[in-house]
Amino acid sequence: MAQALEIIQKQKDSEQWDEPYLVNMGPQHPATHGVLRLFLELDGETIVRCDPRIGYLHRGVEKLSEHRTYSQAMVLTDRLDYIASAANNVGYCLAVEKLMGLEVPRRAQIIRVIVCEMARIASHLLWLATHALDIGAMTVFLYCFRDREWLLDIFEEICGARLTVSYPRIGGVRLDFNQKIIDELYRFTEEFPHRIPEYETLIDVNRIWLKRTKGVGVISGEEAVNLGLTGPSLRGSGVGYDLRRARPYLIYDELDFEVAVEFEGDVYSRYRVRMKEMREANKIIRQCLDKLAECEGEPVIAEDAPDLVIPYGKIKRPEPAPHPKRGYLVKGVEVPIVPEGEVYFAIEAPKGELGYYIVSDGTGHPWRVRIRAPSFVHISALPALSEGQMVADIIAVIGSVDIVLGECDR
């Protein structure tokens, strides 16, 4: 900030015009997808330096988790990447289950894959909508929202909420699918592959779209790996790294899908990767629905899954204080809800590698929760992607790395 003021002062003082010109973009800019603030140093229309400032949406999710039980902390993860909240929930639950050594029933695993992939499609649709809108394609925006609405309706049917789903539970999921949901999902998977060509007709060969995206924000595969990019932003640079294949979780190793890879490393290839991923996600949902029929009537929550309310003998006051080291009292025996230890578990969220690092001290509350958010890493790659580009291209670049500030600032 001091440096920025200095430059502004210099600009005021001197008559020289060849100095970099400082432009403040955001935090209330419609194309920054939330409250991202960028300091852009411009030489004419070329970006000399791009300096992202974050923290406008900081709510302290990691700290708040320390004062909640494991199940209570799960509802906070809804509010990270709020357009794919189901994937966040699943990631968190998987991390806690790994720490507890809990086996999740097969039906719950299949359902979790379905909601994860639904979240992926919903997230990519919203991404395509807003990204196209930023670049100037209004119609795609409306078509994408039409189809996203359908997915949100299915989410509403599944768990009673459209956006902050809170659907998985530690040890399973909240409740089973009914026949109506399965029929609706079959209809969706039948129809959705015909919807994707509609978006592509509008923008895929449109010369304005191509001019705005091809050769813009190029990053090589090696550089992308060094910057820590994951997800579609990495796969757009020719690195076929997908956690669903590299370290399969849930039932992904049984499913037949392709990892979408493109090799140009520009905004256009990142767009292509996401379009392919939507098709693959649709395929995955279809396969899972068939698998779901095989285990009809099985439970969706593990037998030894922890109760939402931590059992502690007699009820004395609304909020019991656990013993700092030994946990809660159950019928005279002290049982730690989650054993002592630490765990890192990452899933392939729509935006990239979403990791949860949880340290447990054996009480009912996590001692520390750290969230490895893909959006945070992607924002740190913005300078590398945008320096040397034209100022209008920063819009396309921000859109192409797909950031959600709720996840970045946490």
Binding site: R68, S71, Q72, A73, V75, L76, D78, R107, T139, R146, E149, D153, E156, E157, C159, G160, A161, T164, S166, V173, R174, L175, D176, F177, N178, E198, T201, L202, I203, V205, N206, R207, E298, P299, V300, I301, E303, A305, D307, L308, V309, I310, I315, P318, E319, P320
Partner: protein, 178 residues
């Protein structure tokens, strides 16, 4: 890009023909205040305390499970013991809807299906107190809600599908529509 394509803007024409086709398709928009979308059963909307048709009162037994599990800690309960029968009497049951995050944990843990998040979302208030629901208000919410519903009304979270019977409290296993 061929010369013909460049001159005649074929890709733009293709896009325009798609939008033209959509112009005559069935609209997907809903004229909201006049038309309303049917809500899914179990939608997590405004809170209510279920009025038991048998007794005409709420079913709350004052077990504090909802107050305990609430991640936003927006449920305030006070109970006392009946000096003679030693039964627990609920003196106060308040929900601060402004703090609520609508996760639905309360209705999930309630052993007697007393608290429910109804499928009603069109409410607002001019003052903070308007959205601070006390026990009478919560029962009123239920009365307002239930008259709009097809009877018998059954919330899917009263007896969650796919959860083994052993894991459910007795009242949830026996839950029936109202």
């Amino acid at each position: 890009m061929g010369l013909v394509k460049t001159v005649f803007l074929t890709e733009i024409l293709k896009g325009l023909s798609l939008t033209l086709r959509k112009l005559f398709a069935k609209p997907v928009t809903i004229q909201y205040p006049e038309e309303k979308k049917p809500l899914a059963p179990g939608f997590r909307g405004r809170h209510a305390l279920v009025r038991d048709p048998a007794t005409g009162k709420d079913r709350c037994v004052g077990c504090y499970r909802c107050a305990q599990v609430c991640p936003a800690q927006c449920i305030y309960i006070e109970t006392e013991r009946d000096p003679e029968t030693k039964a627990r009497i609920v003196k106060k049951y308040d929900i601060d809807a402004l703090r609520c995050i609508f996760c639905g944990y309360c209705e999930e843990v309630c052993p007697v299906n007393a608290i429910v998040l109804t499928e009603f979302y069109e409410y607002s208030g001019y003052r903070r107190e308007d959205l601070y629901f006390d026990r009478e208000r919560l029962l009123k919410n239920w009365d307002e809600f239930i008259v709009t519903q097809k009877r018998p009304y059954f919330n899917p979270f009263w007896r969650p599908r796919g959860v083994p019977e052993r894991k459910l409290p007795a009242a949830k296993r026996r839950a029936e529509g109202i």
